[in-house]
């Protein structure tokens, strides 16, 4: 800016304002950007809108080529039918149960571990921390097979245990890292003051650090929630029993190729009900999401 001004003071005539800097062009440009943004938004939102629209159509309407987003007459009984289905209730209850247990176990254990890495000084910390960071590189597929064998040998196939129990062991190095980074930013004096007052690290963790790192814990929680609610592969591997199905499997199983015509309206109705919690949580907490991603670069 300075450079430009100095330059223009020396030779007031020499700097020509580009044509696109004139007000008319600026307005046009803004209008164009809005147009592109709106078109892109339509592309990004359309599948969701189509999902909602389809869920209210009749089976005849769904079977034929069509362009109308909205149904001829909304068929609310598509949803009513779902609510009468025992499998649907069960899958929803299972999903809520599994997600709640995983969230509780993971958030608690992750905050303990992050606290240890961020606020405590102990011999061997650097080695353990480096080890933890190195597991960041390890893809989920690497441990999928051996863990399956482990759970098979424990007799845990066809129970909820393989989904919920590993969370209690601070699963997810990326989330530990995120939380640690946040906890490092809390002033050290707080701990020291508490220490002088005779508090032990457990009390410091519970009374000082946990309340102060609420935003980071919220970020971790929403990441975990979305990941767990959507999780398809683990339930697919371990919950091979209709009573244990969670929503992702239930929705995926609703679409089977044997049925003809495919009841897309029912499938989409179940999908809408499946997606709603994630969308609501995302809209309420999107600030944490976007911060979390820019911080760690992970998709969660």
């Amino acid at each position: 800016m300075d450079v430009a001004r100095r330059y223009s003071q020396d030779k007031p005539v020499a700097v020509n304002v580009p044509r696109w800097r004139s007000p008319v062009w600026q307005h046009l440009r803004t209008a164009l950007i809005y147009a592109v943004l709106l078109a892109a938004s339509a592309f990004f939102l359309f599948p969701m809108a189509w999902m909602g629209g389809t869920s209210l159509k009749t089976i005849e309407e769904v079977g034929q080529p069509q362009l109308n987003l909205l149904p001829m007459s909304p068929q609310w009984q598509n949803y009513a039918k779902l609510f009468q289905e025992e499998q649907f209730y069960r899958a929803y209850a299972n999903s809520i149960f599994v997600t709640a247990v995983v969230l509780f176990g993971t958030v608690t254990s992750i905050s303990l571990v992050a606290f240890s890495f961020a606020r405590l000084e102990w011999p061997g910390k650097r080695i353990v921390f480096a080890l933890m960071l190195s597991t960041l590189m390890l893809p989920a597929q690497a441990t999928l097979v051996p863990q399956y064998v482990l759970f098979f040998n424990l007799g845990w196939i066809r129970t909820f245990n393989p989904i919920t129990i590993p969370g209690f062991f601070a699963g997810g190095a990326a989330l530990v890292f995120l939380l640690r980074q946040f906890m490092m930013g809390i002033p050290k004096e707080l701990d020291e003051a508490a220490m002088i007052d005779g508090a032990n690290p457990l009390q410091i963790w519970w009374h000082i650090i946990m309340p102060l790192s609420r935003p980071a814990i919220a970020t971790v929680t929403v990441f975990l929630f979305v990941g767990q609610w959507n999780n398809l592969i683990n339930p697919l591997l371990y919950l091979q029993k209709a009573e244990l199905y969670t929503m992702p499997i239930y929705v995926a199983q609703k679409h089977n190729l044997q049925e003809s015509p495919i009841p897309w309206n029912d499938i989409m109705a179940a999908s809408v009900l499946f997606v709603i919690p994630v969308l609501v949580v995302f809209l309420l907490t999107q600030r944490y999401f976007i911060e979390g991603i820019t911080l760690t670069g992970t998709k969660g």
């Binding site: 149960f97 254990s109 064998v149 919920t164 991603i293 820019t294």
Partner: protein, 654 residues
């Protein structure tokens, strides 16, 4: 409901037991840490710190040992066995790894296919995804109102794309017959003149691309590896050699890297002679041409040491190939004819030997080299002279004839022409012409180099066009079969009319029902959910100092210049990061493949992670699954390490 509740209660019981276990275990670990600290003579304060530190970190440490370290080690053991759940474990050495890495047998072939699909997603999908994400980020980086809302909208697909619901919605929309996307495109095309032409152009472009793909692959899904990529590498290698006396500096270093890469690939080509079934002299010739050509070129340019190294490497591998040929099971069959292999080997090894032992008389070397080239081309192009062994097709391929006999077979794509196809011819032509050019023109002069490089590019272009035409002919042949047998041609109905006519606007992409359109469909969905990359780009764009743009404006730079000279270099770390993440994701795609596969197209969309799932969990082959997961882990860890290490190469500093 009752049963589910019972399971939930049982799980809560286990969770409670786990908590107790973790508390007891953590106390034990912390106590051990404290004791160790005492033995090492630490002060009581340090001992206390060790106790508390390990106490808090123990949940992770215990979990790491139980769920990562222990299982990984056992799976390393399983990967050398043929373990199946519930049956006895039998040690079978490196069989699993060999099968997958060399692509042997049915599973090896499926793995190769999965790797190729992942490669396709990486080469075609990742750039498109990067462009989409960068475009969105640039749009969102404008200073106008409501940007936050748009950012929210652009990001929303990411949180849904991991779950089956929205993927099922995509599946419904992508329905080829009456799905929203096709219906919308068609009705738009019928209503608006301009869109009509856009649509026809789009169909034409995709048809041509599919033709190129099929032509390059000769109907073999992993074909591009065999033909296009080696020839591209040959061109690169020779262009590199031609240019290697440029002024030293960054460029010189980059050239060295390409050179080394080319030599390596040449040697790998050699090794691939063993991989094909039956052993394939084509590889031997290709490897020989590449390594031999390089050795010769080095010799000509007076770099004797480099020439010797390349030549020795080539000859060692030639020995390996020979051993492979002689030991291959099919060699024992009575009808098996070794002659073409020996000839190919000799032809390939000759330039190597030449560069090693002959006096470095340039004209002399040239004459012998050219003579040998003629022989090699004769071996490669006129195989009938050698009993046709090379060209006998493995049984797993359908030919036109067998396709006529089984019109309902879904193996159309794996079918190949009954005889040699022109694309392989183009490959040889390109390679030979480039080699002749390299030898003839020498590599010292700038003008010669330019001619060489341009010539190589033209030849490569011809190769692509030839392959495209080849692929189109291939489709038309199948279309004729379908017409003759009266069976519907689901796979290639796009080619119902001759390619020379402008595509009809009644034709539609077949998306998930076609081998050729299913990958583009998956890539479309990945682009739709590329919001995470967008956020990373956005953060990087916000970090570019405004002063740079102002300085550039004073210097009279236009928008494009500013973008390419300032923005792109400044966000290159984010670019690099997104590319590597995209590559890893291409290997790991699971949900999308699981939801969008159809029985006919599962081969064409299967990703590496999906194959791991199929093999391990559907077919319960734990031993093979373990080795697969180790292969995948190694690839991904290498990619990640590369990202950490080489991101130094990209521009970081202002």
């Amino acid at each position: 409901m009752q049963v589910a509740l019972q399971y939930q209660l049982q799980n809560l019981g286990w969770a409670f037991a786990t908590v107790i276990f973790i508390i007891v275990g953590s106390l034990a670990v912390a106590y051990v840490a404290k004791t160790v600290a005492r033995w090492r003579g630490s002060t009581p304060a340090t001992q206390r710190r060790a106790f508390w530190g390990f106490l808090f970190a123990s949940p992770w440490i215990i979990g790491f040992v139980i769920f990562v370290l222990g299982p990984s080690l056992t799976s390393l053991y399983y990967s050398f066995t043929n373990y199946k759940l519930g049956s006895a474990i039998e040690w079978n050495g490196i069989d699993n790894y060999r099968q997958f890495i060399l692509g042997e047998g049915a599973y090896g072939r499926r793995f190769k296919q999965a790797m190729f699909n992942s490669f396709y997603y990486a080469v075609v999908g990742v750039p498109l995804q990067i462009i989409a994400a960068l475009g969105m980020a640039i749009l969102l980086n404008q200073k106008i109102r409501g940007i936050r809302i748009f950012r929210l909208i652009f990001y929303t697909p990411v949180i849904l794309a991991g779950g089956p619901a929205i993927l099922l919605a995509w599946r419904y929309m992508l329905n080829a017959n009456g799905g929203f996307i096709n219906t919308a495109m068609q009705s738009l095309a019928q209503k608006f003149f301009l869109f009509d032409w856009l649509y026809r152009g789009f169909i034409f472009g995709m048809e041509a691309f599919n033709g190129l793909y099929a032509g390059l692959s000769r109907g073999d899904p992993i074909g591009p590896f065999k033909y296009a990529i080696p020839s591209l590498l040959a061109v690169l290698a020779l262009a590199t050699l031609a240019g290697s006396d440029w002024t030293p500096g960054k460029r010189e270093r980059a050239i060295r890297i390409v050179e080394i890469l080319a030599v390596t690939i040449g040697l790998i080509l050699f090794a691939n002679g063993i991989v094909a079934e039956p052993v394939d002299p084509l590889w031997i010739v290709a490897g020989g041409l590449l390594t031999g050509g390089m050795a010769l070129a080095y010799t000509l340019r007076g770099r004797a040491k480099a020439a010797r190294n390349v030549a020795i490497g080539g000859i060692v591998l030639a020995g390996v190939v020979l051993a492979g040929v002689l030991l291959h099971p099919s060699t024992e069959e009575a009808s098996f004819d070794v002659t073409p292999y020996l000839l190919a080997l000799a032809a390939a090894a000759a330039p190597l030997a030449l560069s090693l032992f002959l006096p470095l008389q340039r004209r002399w070397v040239l004459a012998v080299g050219l003579g040998l080239l003629v022989v090699i081309l004769a071996v490669a192009i006129v195989p009938q002279q050698f009993g046709g062994t090379r060209w006998q097709l493995p049984l797993r391929y359908l030919t036109l004839q067998t396709a006529l006999e089984q019109p309902d077979s879904t193996d159309y794509l794996t079918a190949v022409y009954p005889v040699e196809t022109p694309s392989a011819f183009w490959f040889y032509g390109a390679l030979a012409a480039v080699l002749v050019g390299a030898m003839w023109l020498g590599t010292r002069h700038e003008r010669a180099r330019r001619w060489l490089v341009n010539g190589a590019l033209v030849i490569f272009g011809l190769l692509l066009i030839g392959s495209t035409l080849d692929g189109i002919r291939y489709f038309n042949a199948f279309d004729q079969i379908a017409a003759a047998t009266g069976s519907p041609n689901y796979h290639f109905s796009l080619f119902r009319s001759a390619i020379s006519t402008i595509p009809d606007n009644t034709r539609v992409p077949l998306w998930l029902t076609s081998e050729l359109w299913s990958k583009p469909a998956l890539i479309l969905i990945t682009m739709w959910s590329s919001g995470a990359s967008m956020l990373i780009f956005l953060a990087a764009l916000k970090g570019v100092p405004q002063s740079l743009y102002e300085a550039a404006e004073v210097d009279g730079a236009n928008r494009l210049q500013k973008f390419f000279k300032i923005t792109l270099p400044m966000i290159s770390p984010a670019m690099f990061y997104n590319i590597v993440i995209g590559l890893i994701a291409a290997l790991q795609t699971f949900e999308t493949v699981y939801i969008l596969q159809t029985p006919n197209t599962v081969d064409s969309v299967r990703s590496a992670a999906f194959f791991l799932y199929e093999r391990t969990f559907r077919e319960q082959a734990i031993g093979q699954g373990a080795s697969l997961s180790w292969i995948l882990a190694v690839i991904i860890v290498v990619l990640t390490v590369m990202q950490f290490r080489y991101s130094r190469w990209v521009h970081y500093e202002v």
